[in-house]
Amino acid sequence: MHNPQLNRTGDLIHLLSIEGLPQPVITQILDTAASFMEVSARDVKKVPLLRGKSVFNLFFENSTRTRTTFEIAAKRLSADVINLDINRSSTAKGETLLDTIDNLCAMHANLFVVRHASSGAPYLIAEHLQRIGRDDVHVINAGDGRHAHPTQGLLDMYTIRHYKKDFTRLRVAVVGDILHSRVARSDIQALNTLGVPEVRAIGPETLLPKHLDRLGVQVFHDMNEGLRDCDVIIMLRLQNERMAGALLPSAGEYFRHYGLTPQKLALAKPDAIVMHPGPMNRGVEIHSTVADGPQAVILPQVTFGIAVRMAVMSIVAGN
């Protein structure tokens, strides 16, 4: 299958999805991120790698946290960062996505960070750039529809590796609204590529996609059963609109069955870590005692996310 993320020699030129990324590429990103962690700990949190380059944050869908971490990452690499609030600009006046891209290329953009409600929008941009011969311009997917959120997947893998070292003997549970979650999709693909032997999906039937078993995932509807002896628990955010869509009875009901409480956490291994991509709904998918407890690594995830985004940006911009 044509994989527009990699060039002819197999180097990463865009990051569009975890799917199709060879294991050595993922490992290279995680290793490079480890070196950038050290940069973020210095007084001068900056390296000159992307000096003179322009990074455009194109957020067609709101996300303050993801946009901010991409912005910090680009600034720590010495790039110039331009944030475009697309909803309020040309798109609203009827300009097509690719016309917007052409205009920004004419302003000498080097890298686009794209968040879009439509699955596949970053692919469309990457293929367009290839068609017009702009192999010097790179695209990073910051979340597209229900499809993928590859930098979140990578930072989750960084977090797991940081605390657990070895992927090949782990039991990892992903809990919640997997059906609508691009994070879950990216996580499951990355866990498979990195050789995690047991990946579990826990959630109500209405929020789990069909055919999860084809991805090598074990499905559990009973959270107590699913969490047993897990090393890593990845909680997903429950989006309020799911309740309106009648997929769930109520937030309280959801919490009773699928909220991570201290009692349920006790079923996992004693040294299990609890992750969440944020923003958290306390009392809906996670109990505050767990969110603020010693096993939660939710804030370190945010810190690791900056280093991972620095790694991805510097690798694609250099290829």
């Binding site: 050290e38 390296v47 250099g318």
Partner: protein, 169 residues
Amino acid sequence: MPPLPSPLPDAEFQCRQLADLIRPHLHRRPALIGIFSGGAWIAERLRALLDLPENIGLIDVSFYRDDFAAKGLHPQVKPTVIPFDVEGRHLILVDDVLYTGRTTRAALNELFDYGRPASVALAVLADRGGRELPIGPAYCVWDVTLNAGESLELGRLDDGRLAWRLANA
């Protein structure tokens, strides 16, 4: 410069020679920083030979290289670790081979992002000439001439000893 001797000199013996050159200046309480990977091994040797109490610093200049635009990011970047405050310190930057001087420049730029050292001196086992920047070693034990396309590489043998290898591009 003299031509390349055969066999190549003993790198472990050269480390002892390099330590002898540095020893008269220990009253300045220098801190050692080795450039990955060869320089890091040599700095470890120097620390032991000079009986220095402090851990050495390790520097990977990949994020500061001037050929990033042409070559991209090095596939195996190691974290830079400077376990002491460089502010006001006399630093000795250690590398295996000095050639164009570009790696040294990148290391200097990186070091200065950690603070303002009192001084930085360069210590190398080999100087092969071919400088493209105004950079010179304060301590060097071997001036060597290589043919175009040749390069000297410091490696570690199975028993842990350091040894030179001549590579052809």
